[in-house]
C-alpha cells in the first residue's frame, strides 16, 4: 500500500468518524429538542382547549340552572332510553350516542324527585369551534375529544366524511388518558399514523372525555429530514474535500519519495548523472535528499576516480570517506597497485632500453677499438711495408696515398662509432673538439661553454656517452634541419646534477610533433635511462632544450 493511499485512508477514516459522530450527536440533540418543543407546544395547546371547553361548559351549566323552565319542550324524552346509561341525577351528560348526525351532543339535565324537570342540549358548534382553532399546529395538527367508549366526540380533520361517533380511537394515548397515565410522546393515532401526542382528560359532571392534541410525526420530521440531507451533503463534501486535500498534501510527501525512488533506480542502473529533487517544505525529506545527494556525490567521485584510473590517469586523487568505504579503499588500492605495476613496467622498460643502449654503445666501442687499434696498426704496418719496398716511387706514393685514405676512413668510422677521446678525455673535451669541427666546417656561430668539473667529476662513461650523443644529435638537427646560424651549448656540472642547455636560432619546430622524430626520441630515451629530465621550447629564432641528469650514483 502506498504512503499516499494509507495517509488518505487514515485521514478520511478519522474524518469520517468525526463527521458521523458530530452529525449524529447534532442530529440527536436537534431531534430531542424538537421533540420536547413540539410536545410542550402541543401540551399547552391541549391545556388551553381543555380550559376553554371546561369554561364553556361551566358557563352553559350556570346559565341552565337559572334559566331552564321550558327547555324540555323541544326534546323527545323517549330518546334518552337509547343512552348507554341511566339519567338519575341533575348534571351534564354526553348525548352523542343518541345524536342524529353522530356529532357531539351535550345534554344538561335537572332532575327533581326522580323526574327530569329541565333539559337542554348543546350542539357541537362551539366546542368544535374551539377545537378547530389550530394556531401553532402546522399542517397536520389537530385537537379532538374521545369518549370512554373510544368513539370520537369531535370531528376529525382527516376523516371529514365520517361522523365523529363512527370513528373509533382506541389508541395507546387514549387508553393512557383514561387510566390517568400521562406520558406524552409519539403514538399511533386512530388513523394508525405516527403522531406526537399530548393528552388529558376532561371530567365535568357526568362527562368523561379524553382530549388529545396531536401532530403528525412526518410533518415535524420534515425539517429534521432536510437537516439530515444537509448534514449528509456537508459530510460528503467534507469527505470529498478531505480526499482532495489529502491527495494534494500527500503529494508533497509522495512526490519527493517517488522522485527519490526513480533516482535511486537510475543509480542502481548505473546512471549517476541525475538531479536530486529540489528542496521541499519538510525537514526530514530534505535530510534524506541531502543524504542521497552526498551518497550520489561520493559515488560520482568514486566513479570519476575509477574512470580516471581506468584511463590510467594515476595522478588523480581520491579520499575514501572512511575506513568502511570499501569501494573507495578498493579503488585507491587498485590505483596504488596500478601505479606500482606501471612503475615496474616503466622501470622494466627503462631497464630494457638501458640494456639495449648500453649494449649498443659497448658494441660500438668494441667495434671502434677493433677498427682503430686492430685494423689501424695493420694498415700502418702495411704502409711501412710499402715504404720499405724497392719499387717505383710513383707507384709507392699511389699505394701510400691509398693506405692513408683507408686510414682516414678508419678514423672517420671510429669517430662515428665512438670517439676515442670520449673514453680517454671525457665528454667536455670531446664535445669541444666536435664543436670546433662544426665551427671550422660550417658558417655557424657555435659556442660550447664547458663547465664540467676538471677534478672529481662524477660523470661516468655511460653519462659521457649519452651527453655526447645528445649534444651531437641536437647540433646535427640544428645544422641539418633548423637552418640555424647560432648555436649555444652549455654543460654545467654541479655537485648533484648535470645541466645541459642547448639553444639555436633556427626556424623552430613543433614541440609536440618533433617528439615523434627518431632523433629527439633517442635523446628522450637516453635522458630517461639516466633518470633525467628534459624539456623543449621552440619558436622561430629561439629554440632551446633543457636537460638535467642526476649525478647521485657513484
Amino acid at each position: 500500500m502506498s504512503i499516499k493511499t494509507w495517509i488518505i485512508i487514515i485521514i478520511n477514516s478519522l474524518l469520517f468518524v468525526v463527521v458521523i459522530a458530530l452529525s449524529t450527536s447534532f442530529y440527536n440533540q436537534f431531534e430531542k429538542t424538537l421533540n420536547e418543543k413540539i410536545l410542550s407546544q402541543l401540551s399547552s395547546i391541549e391545556r388551553l382547549k381543555r380550559v376553554q371547553i371546561e369554561k364553556y361548559l361551566d358557563t352553559e351549566w350556570n346559565r341552565f340552572q337559572y334559566n331552564s323552565k321550558d327547555s324540555i319542550r323541544d326534546f323527545n324524552l323517549s330518546r334518552l332510553q337509547n343512552l348507554p346509561f341511566k339519567i338519575k341525577t341533575t348534571g351534564i351528560y354526553d348525548f352523542t350516542p343518541i345524536s342524529k348526525n353522530g356529532n357531539l351532543l351535550i345534554g344538561l339535565i335537572k332532575v327533581e324527585n326522580n323526574k327530569i324537570v329541565s333539559l337542554k342540549t348543546l350542539s357541537n358548534k362551539y366546542v368544535q369551534q374551539i377545537l378547530l382553532e389550530r394556531t401553532g399546529m402546522g399542517q397536520s395538527g389537530e385537537t379532538y375529544l374521545v369518549g370512554q367508549d373510544y368513539k370520537l366526540r369531535s370531528a376529525s380533520r382527516f376523516l371529514t366524511n365520517q361522523a365523529p361517533y363512527s370513528i373509533t380511537a382506541k389508541t395507546k394515548s387514549v387508553q393512557n388518558a383514561f387510566q390517568s397515565v400521562f406520558k406524552t410522546g409519539i403514538y399511533k393515532d386512530y388513523r394508525n399514523v405516527w403522531v406526537y401526542s399530548t393528552y388529558n382528560t376532561i371530567k365535568i359532571s357526568n362527562l368523561h372525555w379524553a382530549i388529545l392534541s396531536e401532530m403528525d410525526v412526518e410533518e415535524v420530521m420534515q425539517p429534521l429530514q432536510t437537516m439530515q440531507l444537509k448534514l449528509l451533503i456537508i459530510a460528503c463534501s467534507i469527505l470529498v474535500i478531505a480526499l482532495l486535500l489529502g491527495n494534494y498534501f500527500t503529494q508533497f510527501l509522495s512526490r519527493p519519495l517517488k522522485t527519490m525512488e526513480t533516482q535511486l533506480l537510475a543509480m542502481a542502473n548505473g546512471n549517476y548523472n541525475i538531479n536530486m529533487g529540489k528542496k521541499t517544505h519538510f525537514k526530514e525529506i530534505n535530510d534524506i535528499l541531502k543524504a542521497l545527494n552526498s551518497l550520489k556525490e561520493s559515488l560520482t567521485k568514486a566513479i570519476s576516480f575509477s574512470h580516471e584510473v581506468g584511463e590510467m590517469k594515476l595522478d588523480s586523487n581520491y579520499q575514501p570517506k572512511s575506513k568502511a568505504d570499501v569501494l573507495g579503499n578498493s579503488l585507491v588500492k587498485m590505483k596504488d597497485k596500478l601505479i606500482e605495476y606501471q612503475t615496474k613496467v616503466a622501470q622494466a622498460n627503462t631497464n630494457k632500453k638501458r640494456i639495449l643502449i648500453e649494449g649498443q654503445e659497448t658494441e660500438r666501442k668494441r667495434l671502434a677499438q677493433e677498427l682503430h687499434d686492430g685494423i689501424g696498426p695493420l694498415l700502418t704496418s702495411l704502409r711501412f711495408f710499402v715504404e720499405n719496398m724497392n719499387i717505383d716511387l710513383d707507384e709507392k706514393d699511389k699505394m701510400k696515398a691509398l693506405i692513408d685514405h683507408t686510414i682516414a676512413e678508419i678514423r672517420r668510422m671510429t669517430y662515428a662509432l665512438m670517439p676515442p677521446s670520449l673514453i680517454d678525455f671525457g665528454v667536455g673535451e670531446t664535445l669541444k673538439t666536435f664543436v670546433k669541427l662544426i665551427s671550422n666546417t660550417t658558417q655557424i656561430d657555435i659556442d660550447f661553454n664547458n663547465s664540467i668539473k676538471t677534478k672529481n667529476s662524477k660523470i661516468n662513461t655511460n653519462i659521457a656517452i649519452s651527453v655526447f650523443r645528445i649534444s651531437q644529435e641536437l647540433i646535427n638537427n640544428s645544422v641539418k634541419h633548423a637552418n640555424a646560424s647560432k648555436i649555444r651549448i652549455s654543460i654545467t656540472e654541479f655537485d648533484n646534477y648535470l645541466s645541459i642547455y642547448y639553444f639555436d636560432d633556427g626556424i623552430g619546430y613543433d614541440t609536440e610533433k618533433v617528439k615523434l622524430g627518431s632523433g629527439i626520441l633517442n635523446i628522450k630515451e637516453r635522458v630517461e635511462i639516466l633518470d633525467g629530465l628534459i624539456s623543449f621550447e621552440s619558436e622561430p629564432e629561439n629554440s632551446n632544450v633543457e636537460i638535467e641528469i642526476p649525478l647521485t650514483h657513484e
Partner: protein, 209 residues
C-alpha cells in the same frame, strides 16, 4: 756524429717491426729495443741503456702512453719521448704536450717526416707539424681562473650585481634558469653569505667583480 739511440714501444708486433726496419735503414739511428707495453718499457729502462729518443704509442695495454710520459718526466728526464699514435684528435696531442712529449706523429706519417721529427727532437727541438699544432691549440684547456669563483659564476655574479633577473641571465648566458639558480646558491655557499645582496657586497669587497 753519434748514433741516436731509440726504443720503440707499441703493442702491435707488425708495426714495431715495420717501424724498426724503417729506422734501421738509417745509419745514424740505432733501435736499442722494442717493447709491447708501458710496463715492459719501464723494466727495460731500468736495466738497459737509456735511449735518446722514445717512440711511444699511446694506446697500449698494462700501461698506456700517457702514464709512460708522466713516469719518464719524473724518472728519466734525459729520455725524449715522441708520441706516435693513430689518434689525430687534438685532445691526445694536447695531452701529450702537457705531459712532456717532445713530438707527436701519426702512425701513417711518411718516413721522411718521422726521421725529421727524430732529428729535430734529438737536437733539442719539439716536433708538432702544422696540422697537429692547430688541432692541439683548438683543444688546449682555457686558462684556468685563479679566482675563487668559476668563470660562469663570475659572469652570473656580474649580471646579478647589475640587477638582472635569473631568467634574463639564463637567456643571456644560454643556460637554464635552474643552472643560474644553482650557480647562485653555490656562490652563496662559497662566499658564506645568505642572500644575493650580501653576495654582491662580499664579492665587491673581495674585488671579484
Amino acid at each position: 756524429m753519434n748514433k741516436i739511440n731509440l726504443i720503440v714501444a707499441d703493442d702491435h708486433q707488425l708495426f714495431r717491426d715495420g717501424l724498426t726496419a724503417l729506422l734501421n735503414k738509417h745509419p745514424f739511428l740505432n733501435v736499442l729495443a722494442t717493447v709491447e707495453d708501458g710496463l715492459e718499457l719501464m723494466n727495460t729502462l731500468k736495466k738497459e741503456t737509456l735511449p735518446d729518443i722514445l717512440l711511444l704509442d699511446l694506446s697500449m695495454p698494462n700501461m698506456n702512453g700517457f702514464e709512460v710520459l708522466k713516469n719518464i718526466r719524473k724518472k728519466y728526464k734525459t729520455v725524449k719521448a715522441i708520441a706516435i699514435s693513430m689518434h689525430d684528435d687534438g685532445n691526445y696531442i694536447a695531452r701529450c704536450a702537457e705531459y712532456g712529449a717532445f713530438g707527436y706523429l701519426l702512425k701513417n706519417t711518411d718516413e721522411t717526416e718521422v726521421i725529421d721529427a727524430i732529428k729535430q727532437v734529438y737536437n733539442g727541438g719539439k716536433y708538432y707539424n702544422q696540422d697537429l699544432s692547430r688541432k692541439m691549440i683548438d683543444s688546449m684547456a682555457e686558462v684556468k681562473s685563479v679566482r675563487k669563483l668559476t668563470k660562469k659564476e663570475a659572469e652570473i655574479l656580474e649580471f646579478l650585481s647589475k640587477g638582472f633577473t635569473t631568467k634574463e641571465i639564463a637567456s643571456k648566458l644560454y643556460v637554464s634558469t635552474r643552472t643560474v639558480e644553482t650557480h647562485r646558491s653555490n656562490m652563496l655557499k662559497k662566499l658564506e653569505v645568505k642572500n644575493t645582496v650580501e653576495l654582491i657586497n662580499k664579492a665587491t669587497t673581495l674585488s671579484l667583480i
